[in-house]
Subunit: 341 residues, 6 copies
Amino acid sequence: MGESSENKGKVVTFGEVLMRLSPAGNKKLQQAESLEFFFGGTELNVAESLSYFGLEVSHVSTVSNDLVGDAALAFIRQFGVDVSAIKKVAHPLGLYFLEVGAAMRPSQIAYNRLNAAFANISPEDVDWPSIFKDAAYFHWTGITPGISQSAYETLKAGLEEAKKQGVTVSADPAYRSNLWKYGREGREVLAELTGLSNIFVGGVNEINEILKSDFEFSEEGFISASKKLMRTYPSIEKVFDKVRTGLSASWQKIYGQAWTGTEYLTTGELEITDVVDRIGTGDAYAAGILYGLQHFDDQKTLEFANAACALKHTILGDANLVSVEEVMEVTRGNTGGRIKR
Amino acid sequence: MGESSENKGKVVTFGEVLMRLSPAGNKKLQQAESLEFFFGGTELNVAESLSYFGLEVSHVSTVSNDLVGDAALAFIRQFGVDVSAIKKVAHPLGLYFLEVGAAMRPSQIAYNRLNAAFANISPEDVDWPSIFKDAAYFHWTGITPGISQSAYETLKAGLEEAKKQGVTVSADPAYRSNLWKYGREGREVLAELTGLSNIFVGGVNEINEILKSDFEFSEEGFISASKKLMRTYPSIEKVFDKVRTGLSASWQKIYGQAWTGTEYLTTGELEITDVVDRIGTGDAYAAGILYGLQHFDDQKTLEFANAACALKHTILGDANLVSVEEVMEVTRGNTGGRIKR
Amino acid sequence: MGESSENKGKVVTFGEVLMRLSPAGNKKLQQAESLEFFFGGTELNVAESLSYFGLEVSHVSTVSNDLVGDAALAFIRQFGVDVSAIKKVAHPLGLYFLEVGAAMRPSQIAYNRLNAAFANISPEDVDWPSIFKDAAYFHWTGITPGISQSAYETLKAGLEEAKKQGVTVSADPAYRSNLWKYGREGREVLAELTGLSNIFVGGVNEINEILKSDFEFSEEGFISASKKLMRTYPSIEKVFDKVRTGLSASWQKIYGQAWTGTEYLTTGELEITDVVDRIGTGDAYAAGILYGLQHFDDQKTLEFANAACALKHTILGDANLVSVEEVMEVTRGNTGGRIKR
Amino acid sequence: MGESSENKGKVVTFGEVLMRLSPAGNKKLQQAESLEFFFGGTELNVAESLSYFGLEVSHVSTVSNDLVGDAALAFIRQFGVDVSAIKKVAHPLGLYFLEVGAAMRPSQIAYNRLNAAFANISPEDVDWPSIFKDAAYFHWTGITPGISQSAYETLKAGLEEAKKQGVTVSADPAYRSNLWKYGREGREVLAELTGLSNIFVGGVNEINEILKSDFEFSEEGFISASKKLMRTYPSIEKVFDKVRTGLSASWQKIYGQAWTGTEYLTTGELEITDVVDRIGTGDAYAAGILYGLQHFDDQKTLEFANAACALKHTILGDANLVSVEEVMEVTRGNTGGRIKR
Amino acid sequence: MGESSENKGKVVTFGEVLMRLSPAGNKKLQQAESLEFFFGGTELNVAESLSYFGLEVSHVSTVSNDLVGDAALAFIRQFGVDVSAIKKVAHPLGLYFLEVGAAMRPSQIAYNRLNAAFANISPEDVDWPSIFKDAAYFHWTGITPGISQSAYETLKAGLEEAKKQGVTVSADPAYRSNLWKYGREGREVLAELTGLSNIFVGGVNEINEILKSDFEFSEEGFISASKKLMRTYPSIEKVFDKVRTGLSASWQKIYGQAWTGTEYLTTGELEITDVVDRIGTGDAYAAGILYGLQHFDDQKTLEFANAACALKHTILGDANLVSVEEVMEVTRGNTGGRIKR
Amino acid sequence: MGESSENKGKVVTFGEVLMRLSPAGNKKLQQAESLEFFFGGTELNVAESLSYFGLEVSHVSTVSNDLVGDAALAFIRQFGVDVSAIKKVAHPLGLYFLEVGAAMRPSQIAYNRLNAAFANISPEDVDWPSIFKDAAYFHWTGITPGISQSAYETLKAGLEEAKKQGVTVSADPAYRSNLWKYGREGREVLAELTGLSNIFVGGVNEINEILKSDFEFSEEGFISASKKLMRTYPSIEKVFDKVRTGLSASWQKIYGQAWTGTEYLTTGELEITDVVDRIGTGDAYAAGILYGLQHFDDQKTLEFANAACALKHTILGDANLVSVEEVMEVTRGNTGGRIKR
């Protein structure tokens, strides 16, 4: 984990802490007698990656007040992420089961989260004003408001307070159709919250959801969509996207693209021929963007984020346990697998 | 597993299918990177033990319609238990986490069940009339009506249909204080359902709960309590109890006692100096009673159930994977650990 | 596992139940301290795959009357395969050890089966008339008659009874040179039994063995060989073959071809760049054919079988734990590894 | 882990961070293919236990500046122990191998520590004045000065600064004959450092080493020895000892005794019939004393420490992962192993 | 492992090499997905223990000429046992499955050995004259002649050659009822071979089998039986026996007794309260006798063997991985479990 | 392992025995709770591979006189390597931690060796004259003289004695920058020792280090460099090199080239698309050369070594557990992964 000397200001993340349970290797649950587990959650993954990069990070959430919640807190603390804004509550911790695919067999997930500790969070559980006191960035994703009405309300309160305190807000407003069971129309909620954000991590797909538009999946489409997004929501300053080609569950290609308001940027494509873990690769990308914004120009930020995302495919678990130096090595093209002694 | 030639009539069980997750050995969750798992549930444990004894058994329940529910069904099928009355539903499967104690450190459990697949079962999910068609016995426990109002209603419908069809009902109406969150007073519900039952598996503790009495924990107390129970609920024909002395989490002693309506019966005490797994020992006792009632007189039934219960302490997981012959060996005093080749 | 509503008639399979023991990952036996195990066997694998597809299946065999046989039965029951025609006998269960290769290192197998429970099966152990009562299909392979004289006789009795009862017979008559130690000439036996079959799962290689011919490995060769086979054995109605190209132990390509009696059919090639388990892929293909014959036309049957075979390369163990829907996804070209949530 | 609301002032610990590697269960190294590992170290164990009790704790040490040191820091952070005074240095981390005994076979340890990161620590690596700023207690053991001359010097500098700042010093000055290779006479060094301490955790054995006396192992002997110790080193205010009877590696009995300067105190004996892990039980006792001194009177402190020590025998790894409430349960005699749900 | 400087002459052992496969902990096979394995065999266990004690030992056997046999040879070589007289043959290696019991549940074994590599050994496979060239002792057990006629013949040829070369023969002629399937009456064969031996490891039970007598299980009975045995078979010089009391599968007591021809000797009783592995404890006793005969007087030999046998109960696997020094510690009464650093 | 009938004379190797510890799969140390381990070391790996090929091999080294050294010796003995010249000494065994990379993430190693058992070896620990008595080859690498002054001296004494006894010396003088901490200039030492050698395993890189030259990485460069090396050190008779292209940590290509003094030889390129373990691949190559020199002409030797090196990428651990026949299969182009039954 990096040294804190690099810090330019605390990053705050907000979202569910989920336990992930999966059979080792490519086994199906029916074949296993034990399950590997990790704690994760899309925003927590961003927090842990940033902490590993050496930033000061605080994660805001609720966990169960039982032996599972205790283990979750111990897990998060090992990364140096500040857990003082994670509250223990009566509901059980959310979790999901994962069967890891290979080649043409996709990975499969079963969730148990919609009545869990985080779904029951409410604005009273979070003291946003004091949390943002020494914060520079606040990161949210489209998962959180899809979980429950009260989670949505808690997030919205946070965004409003962030605005008040001048904290830069980054949004990763992916729409997940298996959420949004509590009666709200997801795309409208995401649009509303995007209007309170400054950095948009997403592409044509996400913008089309929010704007109910149908831009094409091309460089042109991305630029047009980004422009329209910024016109609609003037608080958005930059759009960072990653483009993925899946040859199979085990073989993926990615590159990054961005619209900076004035310029289209892109990176070379990185090929991951032997995927170790696909989960959390998008979060690794977002963390790369957030780190880059504090340390690099936009082009280098994009390359850093793309390389961080590629590396996450080689790391087991939800969080991207790679250092800044390891990411930089990939951006420098050192990908031949020479052993580091 | 035994041969079905011994069958005297199908046994029906009804209750939650729970996934159990625990670190191997005596680790705490915080120390583990993987969890062993089993599927169980107090009534399912009875079903699996009886199937292992060679009886025909059908379990009635709901499981999640996802990869976890599929694995649960595969798990149950391996015992030969009929799963045709287990319905797949939208809610996730209930589960619990277990940290296994040792010596003076007790085991600890954290549940995640109150919004799960079984809590949402309702009378429409179960076709009691056809389920009881070829059944001789129906077994329920005090867990089920404590989970939710609709679970209670489904059980009650079953008990009424069982009565109608002349099926013998065995009850294990233990009161668990961490259930009963849905607004009913547990002791009253248990009393009502005991009134629809014929065999009572429990002792002074359970009877005091139901009768709001305060009989003493002694042979005298047990006899008096049993007599009062039978007077209050004339459908109850026999009371089977086990008495446990815990020297530590690793060292336990048990013996059985019964009131047959006319006679007090008891067994010698069995000592388990090296407990492998305490979970499901009560269910193993109940299964022993149910098997005994179909094959032995009351005294031998009591001894069989006590030996079955003792053996369960040596079996990992929730279900008692022992054969009738293995139980009989213990009743014959062959407990010196001579290797069977 | 599928719903039984799709059933068009029971499938009967007959063959050895083998225990497979192998070090995890790519270890050699000498490096391991533990072995993963599965129960399988080429015909049982077909049975389990078909049961997973939702068909009613009964497997006919013998297993050891000891703790290993008990575990084998429990294993098979989890798939819902009917085990009532599997008899417990005095001999030990057959087994094999597997060292899993990678890249240019092939997997290696050592067998212990030629004096085991199945090798000692005899016609008296099987009640063919009642087994075929509600059967639509009977599947056999060239392994079974190669194990022992009495296994051959038991199979032949089954084929004759199947014919009598109008059950469709599918044959996978691969010749294995490490069998046939009991004094019969394998190719002649396979030819005789092919004459009692209706569906031929095999290609130029198998036909050349049986006909003592030397057709070429080409589309032309396959068509000519199939025609000659059908002329020689008029009971054969269709020939289904799969063509494999092995780039390495970890990277394989397959496609299917068929001769329907009037038409040559073929599929696109599927590439498995990251093989998880090569064992049982041929059985997965045969199961695909058997499922297809009951649900699809010949072209779709061939595509279904090829996709099923490809997916098996991603599943650990002997049996193809994939659903009809998962196979259909591959036939629709959805092979990019998008996570299913 | 407890809430920090209970804090009465920070505890500082100083000592080596060691990696422990041992085959699972009771295997010998030769039989294993993998090793379980934990990070520990006698003073760190005290720190982690106190943090688990809810106190604020800071550990002072050096770890290797490589992937092992990174993992050690992540491990320690999970307990909430402050790691800001742990420095990364060029030497590898110290470690030891453990083969766990059973019954009459003792556990066996092989060390690799005498040229490791901690052995090379020097006074310049530690900023004692700022470390003690908000500290109430400083704990050291006899291991540290036995490792190297520079470790001794660093400790002595700490003790002098602690005295200057009025920090209470607790000493656990056990003499280990396999240390002290650097040319100093262990007993003289321990005597010197005891003279800078206030709380003495040890008994007749340790006092005899330091005073070169030969008090008997009895209540009388303990009292006389304690009195003589206090006369010789007037800074010592209290002596806390535990008395162990080992029936075998798996069965141990312990009780505590203390001399408060005016009174002899003792506790009942606790019997651990199924030892899970013997390592770190002395550290658990010391942590119990340190917690007790901040929360209880001396008698209750002694009982708390004895119960904490007993519980440690049931916890795998070096640190005592038990809460204050769990320890209190044992002091209340609740040791029968009733499952906590 | 000891230094070879202690050697007083090579020990030759002859018997089957068996693979042992068992679920970890106390699981039943049905619950496991992997199996721990060891190579063993009653005479090989003696060989490995003696090699660990520092003697030169050569084991005579046959193993399969496949990957299993290769792994077996590698396993045996690690102990330094000479494998040059172990021949590779076409039949598979014998093996057994073990479910480990606990408390009142006995361990259970299922064998697969009667058509394996060793059962097919014949006198031509062994060059006894050259094997015995530098040998001082030859050890055999009652297992070997029970496996097959040709194994019996090979053993008998060895015994005759040993006599010719003046090699001392030790016999452990236990009768196992699950062997002897090839048509010979076990007790007569064992009697014949005892007549070719010099040291008898066994007691009233074994002597009663051989002499068809019915001596009582008492000190008196043992002495009388030993005397009668020596009268009947004058080549027998000494009788060494161990007496076991099984409180449960997890708790055993043992002591040794001997008749030296002139004197009755006995040892104190050793209690193993936490049995790790019961398999091979008799072999550990026999190895203790063989070591003792070369280094100690009879009384010390008996104590050494009893302590070695006790220690084996704490070692996983078939072979007794303890050094002479560890055994001596137990004979000196150091059994309190103090950690050896 | 091969038969010793093929032996053409003993091979002697000299170098450190290292324990390797790594998390299973691609985990980082921080994520693991256990570590897989192997014993290895670059020269030992050569020894074990040659022993597996059937040659007689003796390894010269020192190991710790504790439970770790005992396990190391047991490990080495399993290969049949003669360990009589491995001495037990007081220092701990050297070891290293490995985090295994994937795709663009390189593997990472942390060493703990510079004060370990081997670093403290000195010429008095080795009786070179008797060790070389029946030796044909002596192999050394550039690691050994980089560890310590006394290791260098011990090696030099060996080289001089080898020369005296006419033993052919093969050198693999790779320069490792993380060694050479004891004050010598690595390149000069390697040059000196190369002057005492006959076979050079290395290429442009190694020659440039030794000659302080700057030949290009091309066929031309290799030939010129080899010629210059031979002119400078006339004892060198042949130069064998392997050329590696790393596409990623998981995908590598290799081919061999050699200069025989008169001829340039090369092989086809072998592609390992799924690397299991990269460690020890160079040692596998060297072992291939040493085996080839005793059995084949130079061209076949080169092909054999290249195929052996390729196969090592598929074997877990440090040593190349493949037989001569398996290597020959690869040289014959049989790399399609057909299962060997």
